[in-house]
Amino acid sequence: MDFFFHVGRYFSFLGRVFSKTERKKIFFRNVFQEIGTLGVNSVGLVIIMSIFMGAIITLQMVYNLTSPFLPVFLIGLGNRELLILEFSSTILSLLLAGKIGSNITSEIGSMRVTEQIDSLEIMGINSAEYLIFPKIIAILFIFPFLYILSVFFGLVGGLVVGTSFGAISPTDYINGLQHSFIPYHFSFSIIKMLFYGFLIATIPSYYGYYVKGGAFDIGKASMSAVVNTDILILVFDLILTQILFK
């Protein structure tokens, strides 16, 4: 029952978010602001995360996949494919859902409980559209960049750690990176990132927008928002992989 209630309300909420704006003037300013708070502020985390992901994948390959029967370029290739297909998109988005999602829910939620959302409504402003639409645009804009950044630093992480531990030579690694590259895998993940970005922008907004109560409830809402966003990201990963690879 609860599930259907939330789904129904989520879609009617989206309906309000996507109704037409009359205030083009400050819309772009709001989008730029959101790109700053949601996107640019995540760059550091994305870089650190990705270096470690790439490094760990490479080490695991080196220690578990090397045998006289397997060519050594598999290590670079394996790292590249794992990053491009899943780690830099899905795993990264799960992490960003935590960071960006909890930020959005608590921001919108505290605006709700302190009646700031009511204030907007009283001024004749569609609060859902005003607050959330710029976030969606900002996240959809920034997510492909974060993905590319993540792939790049993941590969660098693999190179640095793999070679400095003496596990693989730079030439072998780079040969592996260039081996049988399929551009479609890249576009596939960019498409996934757009779906994930939409989920990360809208689900936490929804939870924040309908918060009732106070600080305690905002905390609970943030938690539900992140958990549900994570689950949906995984569900979408499954569905999109099925659709786009068949």
């Binding site: 003037k25 400050i26 009511d118």
Partner: protein, 248 residues
């Protein structure tokens, strides 16, 4: 003029407003009084449409708000100003930006004109220039209330709603705020509704007073009539403070 007809409002089987019919006059400060939890805030929020009512009609000068489409409501809302019980300033904006927010959004005024209007409004609520650039978390609760009033009147609304505008203010500032709201109401010929449980406000600006008890309209009259009223519950409310007994 705002007329409320047979208004009902409940939250999950708990009826908060029971058959309320009142008329709030233009150019007057209409006070809604009642004990904490009697339903004042719910009434105000129902009138402005933040709560959907279960039953009843609300007329803004002949225009039935309950029957309006969202678009029409949005337009009518541009004629409203509201001061919330907690101030509800936008905490991401400075004092100045809070007051100028609607000017920037809804008018074609230049930066200079906006700044002038903002400083005029803030001046009326006695906010010093040095606080113009502060954020709402950096000013006192009473100041937040006053900034909220400035924000509510910046577009010269036809209808002004204040939910306990002077709770949390010292007696002197309360009086200033009461008189200010009264003055603006006359100046702009607004229909003003004020929720309060402060008898001082009732005695100074209660041109029309409505006493709500348990979600029902128990009594209505003027500040002069209130002292002589026979209603037992109203007397308990009014004379809770012994000081007012001498008026009787």
């Amino acid at each position: 003029m705002i007329r409320v007809e047979n208004l009902y409002k409940s939250f999950d089987n708990k009826t908060v407003l029971k058959n309320i019919s009142v008329e709030f006059e233009r150019g007057k400060t209409n006070l809604v009084i009642g004990r904490s939890g009697s339903g004042k805030t719910v009434l105000l929020k129902s009138i402005v449409g933040l709560f959907e009512v279960d039953r009843g009609n609300i007329y803004y000068d002949q225009r039935n708000f309950v029957k309006m489409k969202p678009k029409e409501r949005k337009n009518l809302r541009k004629e409203m100003g509201m001061v919330f019980q907690g101030g509800a300033l936008f905490d991401s904006l400075t004092v100045e930006q809070n007051v100028g927010f609607q000017l920037k959004l809804f008018t074609n005024k230049t930066k200079q004109e906006i700044a002038e209007r903002v400083s005029f409004c803030l001046d009326r609520v006695k906010i010093n220039k040095e606080f113009f650039k502060s954020f709402s978390s950096e000013i006192s609760g009473g100041m937040q209330k006053r900034v909220a009033i400035a924000r509510a009147i910046v577009l010269e609304p036809r209808y002004l709603f204040c939910d306990e505008p002077n709770s949390g203010l010292d007696p002197e500032t309360s009086l200033v705020i009461d008189n200010l709201i009264h003055e603006i109401t006359l100046d702009l010929n607004m229909t003003t509704i004020i929720n309060t449980h402060d008898m001082n406000s009732v005695m100074s600006i209660g041109e029309k007073v409505f006493f709500i008890r348990d979600g029902k309209l128990q009594w209505e009259g003027t500040k002069d009539e209130i002292m002589k009223a026979d209603d037992k519950h109203l007397q308990n409310f009014v004379f809770a403070n012994n000081m007012y007994k001498k008026y009787r």
